[in-house]
């Protein structure tokens, strides 16, 4: 493993100080790759926290472009970025923030055919899309590929987060079985969202990745976190005793290749073109 430079020791000193991280943990972060699927309300804070912490390689996947209505919650995009690919905007900000980090900007949406290739080589996956079908696709593919991951969903002031260790803990499909029909009225574009909700969820997702890579603490696995920022309540649902879903029961088989995710799965949102003034969700 590489030696930390003087500048790295200075930059990451407050992490090295942590009993759970130290120099060894910091080197692990610097030599790891995390894939973030989605460059919006969850993906921006997640990528920002990963990059600031010194995760050395971040692959970020999204074919969407920045819209003005994204800016209150997609914190890495600035007014001048409207119309740019979100992944290009994030790459620019992160590489300016931390030269230790390489960002691989992938201008694609995940689908059944490309997902294995896009996730492979990752030590951790952060699902940061806004459609249920895409969340299930990332879930099912990670279970098959054996990559630990976290999934979050937010709307208005509310959010839910789970972490999954394939083969060891319950997954999104164990919990919900099937994607619910897409409901435009319950999306961020239909129902609204306050930026702090995806901001907090994305930060927790990044922290899960950091813990998974370094071995620090305990992952938020076998539990569903449900938060409500209107009354500042945080609840935890124990999902450890749920029966294994079809994807977890036979992880060696690529369940995601046979499941019908519906038409929405090819994209992280419901609308294929996106350089209009309308919002595309989280």
């Amino acid at each position: 493993m590489q030696t930390l430079t003087e500048a790295q020791i200075d930059r990451y000193s407050r992490q090295i100080l942590l009993a759970q991280i130290g120099g060894k943990g910091q080197k692990k972060l610097l030599s790891s790759r995390v894939t973030v699927v989605g460059a919006g309300g969850l993906g921006c804070p997640a990528a920002q926290a990963l990059a600031a912490a010194g995760v050395g390689a971040i692959r970020i996947i999204d074919a969407d472009r920045v819209e003005l209505s994204n800016l209150p919650r997609q914190f890495l995009h600035h007014t001048k970025d409207v119309g740019r690919y979100k992944v290009d905007s994030i790459k620019e900000k992160i590489e300016a923030m931390n030269p230790d980090v390489t960002v691989e900007a992938v201008r694609m949406f995940v689908d059944k055919d490309n997902i294995a290739g896009l996730l492979s080589g990752s030590e951790y996956v952060i699902e940061a899309c806004d459609g249920q079908a895409a969340k299930f696709l990332v879930n099912d593919a990670c279970v098959h590929l054996g990559i630990p991951f976290t999934i979050a969903g937010v709307v208005q002031f509310y959010g839910q987060i789970i972490s999954v260790i394939p083969g060891k803990t319950r997954c999104l499909r164990c919990l919900f079985r099937e994607p619910a029909p897409e409901d435009a009225q319950n999306s961020c574009s239909g129902a609204g969202v306050m930026g702090a909700a995806p901001g907090m969820a994305g930060m927790i997702q990044a922290n899960e990745a950091i813990k998974s890579i370094t071995g620090a603490g305990k992952l938020h696995a076998d539990k569903l976190m449900i938060f409500n920022l209107l009354d500042c309540s945080f609840d935890f649902l124990d999902i450890a005793s749920l029966p294994a879903c079809a994807a977890c029961a036979r992880p060696q088989e690529p369940f995601y290749k046979t499941f019908d995710y519906g038409s929405a799965v090819t994209v992280c949102h419901l609308r294929p073109e996106s350089v209009s003034g309308r919002d595309s969700g989280v």
Partner: protein, 83 residues
């Protein structure tokens, strides 16, 4: 622990000119390079580090301070046995 309890060392780190928390950061990184029970000699000249470094080493259970020597008011040397 005596005020002048010198030991041989497997590694030495001179942290004169550095302040908290970097004195502990560098001590911790040096300890990570050693094998269990090897001894690190740490030279300090920032007074708050004289107590902060041993305390942090013990709080994080990284090792044991087995000796120290002081130049009155100016420098302190610690010998730390890695756990």
């Amino acid at each position: 622990m005596t005020m002048d309890n010198r030991h041989s060392a497997d590694a030495v780190i001179d942290l004169r000119g550095r302040k908290c928390p970097m004195t502990f950061v560098y001590t911790k990184l040096e300890l990570e390079k050693l094998e269990p029970r090897q001894i690190l000699k740490v030279i300090l000249d920032y007074a708050p580090s004289f107590t902060n470094v041993p305390r942090s080493v013990e709080l994080q259970d990284l090792g044991e301070v087995i000796g120290e020597s002081s130049e009155p008011g100016t420098e302190k040397t610690l010998w730390i046995r890695k756990k």
